[in-house]
Each structure stands twice: as C-alpha cells, then as structure tokens.
C-alpha cells in the first residue's frame, strides 16, 4: 500500500493545481502576516490596519461611542438599548477578540466554501484514473488486495488535503496569535471539520469514480450533490413543497451530506467560540461519507477490469 500511497503523492505533485492550492494558502497567511497591523495596548485592540487602511470602522461609532448606521441612526442591541463601543461585539467579549475571531471565522469560512471546492477539482480525477485500462491492469496484478490499492489512492489524497488544511489553518492561527497575543485554540478545531467534510464529499467521488471510471462524471456528481445539499439546507423548503414531496425532501435532507449546514452552523462557531449547533449535520454527513467509501470499496473489490 505504501507504493500506491507514494504514487498518489507524486501524481498530486505532478498536478500543478495541487501545488497551486498550497501557493494560495501561502499567499493567504503571508498576506495576513505582512498586511495586517494590529495595535494592541494592554490586551485591548487600539487599532487595526489592513494594507495600510483602517480595518476597524471607527466612523460607525459617534462621539458618545454609540453605534450608528450609514444614515446616522442609532443601532439598538437585542435589549432595545443603543449598541455601544466595547459593549457588544459580533464575536468575543472585547474588540480584540471580535476582530481576531472574526478574521479567523472569515478564513475558515473561505477555506470551507472555496477551499473544499478547489480541492475537489484538483483531486477529482484521481480515483477514476486509477481504474483506467492500462493502469489498473498493472496495479491490480501486484500481490495486493484491491482494498489496499484503493486505500493507497484515497490515503494519498487524504494525506495531501489534510496537510493543506493543517498548513493553512496552522499558519493563519500562528500569525493572528502572534500579532494579537490572543491564542484561540478553538480555531484549530475547524481543521478536522473542514477536512472531514472534504473527505465526505470525496467519498462521492470515490464511489462514482469506481463505478463509472469517469473523472468528469464523478466530479459533476459530487458538485450536483453539493448543490442539492445546499438547497435541502433551506429551513423553509419542506413547507414550500407539496405534501406528496415533503417526505422525500425531508428524507433526502437527513440522508444526504449537509454541506451547507456544517458550513453555517459548525465552522464559524468553532472559530468564534460560539456554541456549535450543527453536530447532527456533521455526524450524519460523516455517516453518509462512510457509506460511500464502504460502497466504493465493495464495488472496487468485485468489479471486472
């Protein structure tokens, strides 16, 4: 299996798009390191500049330190009181926490929504290429079980993607922590979540790739499923369909991976320290992924090549 793992790693390296993903991740944390200037005084954020521009919109607060909107109207908090500077922040209990947590939530969100899509594009053809005539003949006639062959291929993809996520999140976390002095370990919990959801979606690629032998079809199927899961994540959807279709919609919601729910209910909450509401979405998505992989392994073991 080690041989196939190495082969996959070399194939990923040969595909420049994977290197491109690492370059993008590097640009993100280097840009953050060079362009973000934080002025922290006694543990409080006195100022923040991104590419030389103020990153905190002081103008949103009037002279009394009350938050106002673009028309100059006072913004109220949940209790109907004017929202004040250092009173209530979207993330965290201080302006510094809010800024750091917010920036980390933005990075984790971008990594989740954009990064996973790019990673799927970069690696989508690898399972199908394994089953191509001429290559599969050589590999399957080695004294390896078919499970080991497929596991070597999937393991290689997982390893690289896990490395990419750890690299991006770790570097961003270090940069933000060193600059702000605020260490937010919960941000790192987004690593397993983002990687797990990539692995779940890759399970679909594995299954369709083994079944059809077509890289484009496996990628398109995965993207289609991802789109469907986003539609199914709309809370009002069951009430907007007829009674006949409602059980199907609700059933599909529970069965299919909940990419949208995890992206909204889990990933940002981990970065901002808020309670995670999407545990079911994550768990049921993992179950779906596990079933996809199981089916892919069974199919690969039984198929004629």
């Amino acid at each position: 299996m080690t041989g196939l793992l190495l082969l996959t790693l070399r194939e990923l390296r040969a595909r420049k798009v994977v290197i491109g993903l690492f370059v993008i991740a590097t640009i993100v944390w280097v840009a953050l390191a060079l362009a973000l200037q934080l002025d922290v005084v006694d543990g409080s954020l006195a100022g923040a500049r991104l590419f030389g521009e103020d990153a905190i919109n002081d103008e949103a607060y009037n002279a009394e330190g009350v938050l106002v909107d673009a028309e100059g109207n006072v913004v109220l908090n949940d209790d109907g009181e004017p929202r004040r500077l250092n009173d209530q922040y979207p993330f965290g209990s201080t302006l510094l926490e809010s800024f750091v947590f917010g920036a980390q939530a933005f990075v984790s969100g971008a990594a989740y929504w954009v990064g996973i899509l790019l990673a799927l594009f970069a690696t989508g053809g690898l399972v199908a290429s394994l089953t191509e005539r001429g290559q599969v003949d050589v590999l399957l006639t080695k004294p390896l079980s078919r499970s080991a062959v497929l596991a070597g291929r999937l393991g290689g993809v997982w390893l690289v993607m896990l490395g990419l996520v750890v690299y991006l999140f770790g570097a961003v976390w270090l940069v933000m922590s060193l600059k702000s002095g605020l260490w937010n370990p919960r941000f790192l919990l987004a690593i397993p979540v983002v990687f797990s959801m990539f692995a779940v979606m890759y399970g679909v690629i594995a299954l369709v790739g083994v079944w059809s032998g077509s890289g484009p079809l496996s990628l398109m199927s995965t993207l289609a499923l991802l789109f469907v899961s986003l539609v199914l994540a709309i809370p009002e959807l069951p009430n907007q369909v007829s009674q006949t279709w409602r059980p199907l919609v609700e059933g599909a919601y529970h069965v299919l991976p909940k990419f949208g729910n995890v992206g909204v209910e889990v990933v940002p909450q981990l970065a901002t320290g808020q309670p995670v509401a999407g545990a079911y979405a994550l768990a049921s998505s993992l179950a779906f992924g596990a079933i996809c992989y199981l089916a892919a392994f069974i199919l690969f073991a039984r198929k004629d090549y």
Binding site: G3, L4, L7, G134, L140, L144
Partner: protein
Amino acid sequence: MTDLALQTSSLAKTYGSRQPVHALRPLDLEVARGEVFGLLGPNGAGKTTLVKLLLGLVRPTEGTASVLGAPITEAAARQRAGYLPEGHRFPPFLTARQTLDLLARMAGVSAADRDSRAPRLLDLVRLGGAANRKTGGFSKGMLQRLGIAQALMNSPEIVFLDEPTDGVDPVGRREIRDLIEGLRDDGVTVFLNSHLLSEVERICSRVAILKDGAVVRDGTVDDLTRQGRAWRLVSTPLPAALAARLGDALAPEAETLPGGLVRSLVTVPDRPALNALLDALRAEAVEVEAVEPARQSLEDLFVEVVTADAP
C-alpha cells in the same frame, strides 16, 4: 511444489445476463513449469479474458484456476507472477527508474533488491541510458520494453506477456525473443499472448488456439504444424513410371531445386510404407537428398482453424 505453473478447471467467464456473452467457455488447461506457452486466437476469441482471469483482474463465472499452486482469487497467486498488459500506461511524470521502483515496491520487492535489479533490467531492455528520463517522453517501443522490465522486477516464476513486441522495431523484437528464451533457460514459465505467429512459432514449446471462447487446438508446435503422414522428399527427379505407380501418394506439383534436385510431397500411411517407398526409389536409381516430415506454418494452421466453421 506442483510441477504445474498454472491449471484451470472448467474456468469460464460470461458477461451480462440478459444477453450473455460467453467470453470464455469452460476451459481445462495445464501449463508446466518452465514451459513457454503461446495463446493464439483472433480478436475477441477470449485470450485477454483468460489472462485477466488468471491474474485476478476478472472474476470467473464458473470453474477454478491456480497459478503456481495458489488459487487465482488470492493475492498470493500474483506474488511470483509478472505481467505485461497490452496497452499499458505508466505514470508519465515518473522516470523509468522510479516507475520500476514504485511498481516493484507494490510487488513486495525489498529496497535492496529493487536497487540491484532495476539498473540490471533497464540495461537488459536497452533503457539504461534513459533510466532517469520521464516516461511521458518515451516512444511506444521504449514503453513496451519498460513494461517488460517491470514484469520481471519481482524475479517471477511465471510471466504473462500480452503482445510483448507490439510497437517494437525488428531489432527490439529479436531482443525480446532472446529475452524470453533466456527466461525459459532460467526455468521461468512464460505465458505468451501474441498475434505475431512467426514469433510464437519460434519461441513457444506449446500453443493453444482459442476461438469463440473455446480452445480449438492445443499441443506442441511440432504436433500442430505437422501435416499428418506427409513427407517432403528431396531427390533427383522421379521417373515417370514410378510417379505413375505412386498415384495419389505423390502430390502433382514438385518444386525444382538447384543441383538438379526436386522437392516432392508424398503421403504414406505409416513408417513401413515410407521405407518401402524409399526402397522403390533406390531401385529406380533415384538419389535421395533428404526426407523430412511435411509441416504447414503456424500461420497457415491458424488461418485454417479460425476460418473453419464452429467446432
């Protein structure tokens, strides 16, 4: 240890259920260790299906088979087997040396053995100078030779070669033929699947001809190509009276050879009859230069078999 390199018992493969295609009909086949076995047949006869069954790429519909004593359903059957598939593809981003190293690693070859065998095999297939070149830039002949090298990296006891000379120039073909003969001399069993009948005729000790998924001929090349009790007789011209006496036993056309000799085809029922004929020739002062069993080429036999009606 069994003396058989491979053995099949009613091994069959049928694709589909609604409109079944019998790619291989129940086949009983034995190949001895150290034998160079040739599998012949027209396109779609079931040759590749048989090889894939033996190597576990395809699951049998019925029957059993073993390679080097291990059931084909187990990975152990491939432990000491090498395989050169037809139309193989190697990762174009790897060098020849890396390709051999990775594939041998998958075959369970130790690092020390990989390091020692790879350069030797690359030299053997004339790729020593291209060891560090990426295979993406290789010609078809170079890829074919690299394929042969990878099939030998695990020092196999049996090698399956599917069209090994495909895309290889005449010099390369001869080298591959020499290589196969070298394997045979080392006691390696070779299972050769080729369309180049002259090549098979030269190398193989035994052949089987597949047609429509069934073996229609099986035997040594000598036995299969021998034309019954016909003999080729090289002698001085036969007197007309003797020729008339021989009647149907003498083929009407005789080939004139240099030195005043002719080559005739005579058919006699058995050895005593052949000796009686020779006595008659001598009695008529005919000088005999040579008598040898008449043979048809493997190609002629192949065409005759595959164009004949179904068995």
